[in-house]
């Protein structure tokens, strides 16, 4: 089943800037799908449209069977989001931040405790958000995105700015999320991350999707050991064309 379905999606900012130029892809229920691409490719724009923060200019967008933007009210209730570089309320504690989002999503009170437990945040519950390390800030962001028990999660560059250790922690959290049966659409410009986590990838460049594949298929196609090498080879072949 397609939990996200995007067809020929265009986004033009201020009638001038073509950020997305007709992209088509979908996310299967239960999988981790990565949108991979350099800065400025259009990843955040895609996530913002899917999470109903900004409107598509043209094209068909369906999230959990609901049309975007017409049925955005339904989408917002059901989808969790971790925006790029998200900071919580900086002077609220970990617990207060999570509680705010649980309430917004009409979650049960007990969920606050559960989320703190499952994300190893219990000992930081009284710590203000601003005083957390980068890795723990991400943990809180993920906890907040799980408020209200979403079946689908959008994560925009979830490991940017983290040290290698924390990046791996976040990777583990993302696979945990998948194990809970939550579908994940993540964006990244780190190829090791995409290789490690993704069931399928979409490579986005200049507002266009240049390849839809799995990490394995792409590495095979270009006979490379890592996704990074395969990606570079792909980019080279595109430059030649």
């Amino acid at each position: 089943m397609r939990i996200v379905d995007v067809e020929n999606l265009w986004k033009v900012y201020n009638r001038r800037k073509e950020a997305l130029r007709g992209i088509t892809f979908h996310v299967e229920s239960g999988e981790i799908f990565s949108l991979l691409g350099p800065n400025g490719a259009g990843k955040t724009t895609t996530v913002k449209i899917l999470s109903c923060i900004t409107k598509p200019t043209n094209g068909k967008v369906e999230v959990m069977g609901f049309n975007v933007p017409e049925q955005c009210d339904k989408v917002r209730e059901r989808v969790g989001v971790v925006p790029q570089e998200f900071q919580g309320f900086s002077d609220l504690t970990v617990e207060e931040n999570i509680r705010y989002f649980v309430k917004l999503y009409k979650g049960d009170k007990s969920q606050v405790e559960e989320l703190m437990k499952s994300l190893d945040l219990i000992e930081y519950r009284k710590t203000r958000f601003r005083n957390l390390s980068g890795g723990y800030k991400r943990r809180v962001a993920i906890a907040c995105s799980l408020a209200g028990d979403p079946k689908l999660l959008f994560m925009d560059e979830p490991t940017v700015g983290l040290d290698p250790r924390s990046r791996r922690d976040v990777w583990n959290l993302i696979t945990d999320v998948k194990k809970r049966g939550i579908s994940v659409l993540l964006t990244t410009h780190y190829l090791d991350e995409a290789q490690k986590l993704s069931d399928r990838i979409g490579i986005i460049f200049n507002g266009k999707i240049v390849r839809l594949s799995t990490p394995g298929e792409l590495m095979e196609e270009f006979r490379k050991q890592t996704l990074e090498e395969a990606y570079l080879a792909l980019m080279e072949s595109l430059g030649d064309a």
Binding site: C52, R76, D91, L92
Partner: protein
């Protein structure tokens, strides 16, 4: 509505836990009040000012007496608020209203007026005393309006800008929270902050001998004026580009400081040059201060015009601000 309140609660808790906010909410207004109260309050004391109504040349005559300084004016309450003696001349009838503490000066004043009006056969004096108001009463009540202005405008623009920078707005925009609930959350926060900042100012006022008349109508009006300025803040923020947030904050500064100083908050309308007077008199902060002074200082019913004027501005700013300050991108 429920979401607006839980959002307001989060914003209140977040900001009141921050030292920077506490500085701006508590210490900055106190500091400003102290500067004006001590700087101008002390200087205002030794003058014995007489406001003359109905006979401008008597005012200049008084000026020549060394004892009094005469000015022309017709607002008895203004006069008393500044500890002026108020003299109203109508033919041979002279009304004198003076602040209690100036009791000992009244005989000299009567003699001087009698002398000046010597052409008139019998001058009949009607003398009454009023509880005097001091410059402290004036500046402290004026400061309350200033707080609603600065909290309302800076609060919305500053807090919203911070949350944009922290991507909190993006996060909240993806949640079921509605745009108007977000704006309401911010406005409720501003109202709470204003009420909180007012307490230390009033306590400081007590130290200067100002006994404010705290009433339900005062608290309600203070909430409305903050609502009005928060709506104005939302208009400014809504019109500013979100990728250049400093524009909103610059615009807020450019607006707030002139409104603050070109108002009757610290100085009486009569102290402004004639060209500025209409602006000073009818800009919202002055009208708000008129109402606040009526309520907490004079204990009289505020004018219907003043209250209606503020009510209309409040509805207009909140409506336009709520439409402009969208939680989500619209194009």
């Amino acid at each position: 509505m429920r979401n607006a309140l839980i959002t307001a609660w989060a914003i209140i808790k977040d900001n009141l836990s921050s030292k920077t906010t506490l500085f701006f909410v508590i210490f900055f207004p106190l500091f400003l009040t102290l500067i004006f109260a001590l700087g101008f309050g002390a200087a205002a004391e030794p003058h014995v000012m007489v406001m003359v109504n109905g006979n401008p040349s008597l005012a200049s005559y008084l000026n020549g007496t060394q004892l009094f300084t005469g000015i022309v004016g017709s607002d008895e309450r203004e006069a008393l608020l500044h500890n002026y003696v108020y003299v109203s001349v109508n033919g041979s009838k002279v009304d004198i209203v003076y602040p209690q503490q100036d009791n000992y000066l009244v005989p000299s004043l009567e003699a001087i007026i009698q002398n000046y009006l010597s052409g008139v056969n019998t001058v009949s004096f009607h003398v009454s005393s009023q509880q005097g108001f001091t410059y402290y009463d004036y500046v402290i009540s004026g400061m309350i309006g200033v707080i609603s202005l600065s909290n309302g405008v800076f609060g919305v623009t500053g807090v919203a800008a911070g949350y944009y920078r922290d991507r909190l707005v993006d996060r909240i925009a993806a949640s079921p929270l509605r745009s108007y609930e977000w704006v309401m959350g911010l406005i409720v926060y501003e109202i709470v902050i204003t009420l909180i900042s007012t307490v230390p100012i009033l306590l400081l006022g007590l130290a200067f001998g100002f006994l404010p008349l705290i009433s339900v109508s005062f608290v309600a009006f203070l909430a409305i004026s903050t609502l009005m300025f928060a709506g104005l803040g939302a208009v400014i923020f809504g019109l500013s580009p979100k990728d250049k947030l400093f524009v909103a904050q610059t615009a807020a500064n450019v607006l707030v400081f002139p409104l603050m100083f070109l108002s009757n908050a610290f100085f009486n309308l009569s102290a402004f040059p004639p060209l500025l007077k209409p602006i000073v008199a009818y800009q919202p902060l002055s009208v708000i201060n008129d109402v606040i002074r009526d309520l907490v200082v004079y204990n009289v019913l505020p004018s219907l015009f003043d209250v209606g004027y503020i009510a209309i501005l409040t509805v207009a700013f909140v409506y336009v601000g709520g439409r402009l300050m969208k939680l989500r991108e619209t194009d």
